[in-house]
Amino acid sequence: MTIALVDCESFYASCERVFRPDLKNKPIVVLSNNDGCVIAFSKEAKKMGISMGVPWFRVKKSFLKQKGQVFSSNFTFYGDMSARVMNILEGFVPKIEIYSIDEAFLDLDTLKQNYNLYDFGCHIRSIVKQWTGIPVRIGIAPNKTLSKIAINEIKRKNIPTSVLQLIDDKEIKNALTNTPVQKVWGVGKKLNDHLNSAGIYTALDLAKVNPQNIRKKFSVVLERTVRELRGEKCLAIDDITSFKKQIIVSRSFGRKISSLEALQPIVNNFAVRAAEKLRNEKQKCSQVSVFIKTSSFNKNKAQHAGLRTVEMFGPTDDTRDILSATKKGLLPIFKSGYAYAKAGVILNKFSSQKIKQCSLFEEFDNLKEDSKLMKYIDYMNAYETQIYFASQNTKELSPMKQSMTSQKYTTSWYELPKVN
């Protein structure tokens, strides 16, 4: 088994650079929705001390003073560039798993007899760079977890070709020694603390633990990680584009909310957005969950958290059904006297849109009309004006505050890049 992980180098920043040749070698940062914090940065910006997630207001002054270029996030553009990169990768191998907007696992098994995999990696890298302008790193290893380690090694050692093949045991061992356990795929902050207190600091320490003990003390998931660090292959390439199995729309509030009159319309906004996403995925759901919680940062104040799941009569993608289920879920969990900080709506139990379950007495003809209504609403919301449901809070839906977005270079006829 041999896997390659293709990882786009500071993807959002690289995208911004493709149509701005004047930004070559210049520091670039990209901000989150509402321009809150830094979510991507070029290596020049990293050298200036910019780190992931840092609030923009904190670094703004010094960054701009040093002639850095800042962008609001332009996901329309990044999404199109990502699709191009993935499309090219799909042409190289029979099996690929698109793991995120800027990462994909490639199955190299069928190629390994006929190709030098390192050269193959270099070839992929140069093609992607030439065809799209996006630079990628490629880590080749016996399994997914080690391919992630290979990518880390490319970053750590600043390998100029950006391609690394981890094959022989000595090389793998060396890489594991240099990888802090928190950088191992699937090990988060919390788990890292646990492992540290058990004397496990590097990926090599983790690889040396008996997997069965890990399963007992931690989880099956971490056991798989340990096995993969030891060179076994536990995680397959998931080449079937896996449909989402759950849609969550949830947000922390800007200010705490105590009354049901204020809370309900906001939760309804989440329900409406979730239903939109559901239709966009061409799915129907049969279960809606609602949750609300107070702030866990405010330890002195009274705490309350509630979650209620409502079963639908049949699979639906109709916003009105989801709104009524949301109401059914919210009412029993709401308790007055608490300052709520966060709420969310979760859609579960998906089935495809073409299947419709009817109740015995439902008018069959109504179905078509209803799905048309939702289609019209989605269409109008996308292209014309905003349609709200009566139970929504329309004030909280003001457009995102984003002032520094680049053009839709690749998706809008009116915003094409200009050449002289």
Binding site: P21, D22, K24, A83, R84, V85, N87, I88, I127, Q130, W131, T132, G133, E311, F313, G314, K354, I355, K356, Q357, C358, F364, L367, K368, Y409, T410, W413, L416, P417, K418, V419, N420
Partner: protein, 142 residues
């Protein structure tokens, strides 16, 4: 008529029956005699774009390439996967800007405008020229 209330059916215990339904309605009447001869309309993308992942559209500014049929504001189709050769029309970056010119590799490499009013651009030492892609077509709107 008199009805007795027997009880509520639990929604959870109902067996799920999936009924497929048809999106298209059936019309009765004489079928169109052309129905066997319908072909899909011409798709410009299919004819003008060979490699979608590597193809970008850009808008030309100015008169420097009118001789090649590229008017001001023309939309150019640029294929980054086609290696340019002598006389190809290319999009390149020069001093941090995109330019569209004809690439000449001999007698001396230069970017040649297609308008006698514009001089050829020779690449000086220290100047960085990067060919982005080859222009495969231009769309001029009248």
């Amino acid at each position: 008529m008199k009805v007795d209330y027997i009880g509520k059916i639990s929604e959870e215990n109902l067996p799920a029956i999936f009924v497929p339904y048809f999106l298209e309605s059936v019309h009765a009447g004489f079928p169109s005699p052309a129905s066997d001869y319908i072909e899909s309309p011409i798709d410009l993308n299919k004819h003008l774009i060979k490699n979608g992942a590597a193809t970008f559209l850009v808008r030309a500014q100015g008169q420097s390439m009118v001789g090649s049929g590229i008017a001001d504001q023309a939309v150019l189709i640029v294929d980054r996967s086609i290696k340019p050769s002598h006389n190809s029309i290319v999009v390149a970056t020069l001093d941090g800007e995109f330019v569209c010119k004809r690439l000449k590799l001999k007698p001396k490499m230069c970017l040649m405008p297609d308008n006698p009013n514009y001089p050829p651009i020779f690449i000086n030492n220290g100047q960085e020229l990067e060919i982005v892609g080859t222009v495969t077509a231009a769309i001029n709107k009248f």
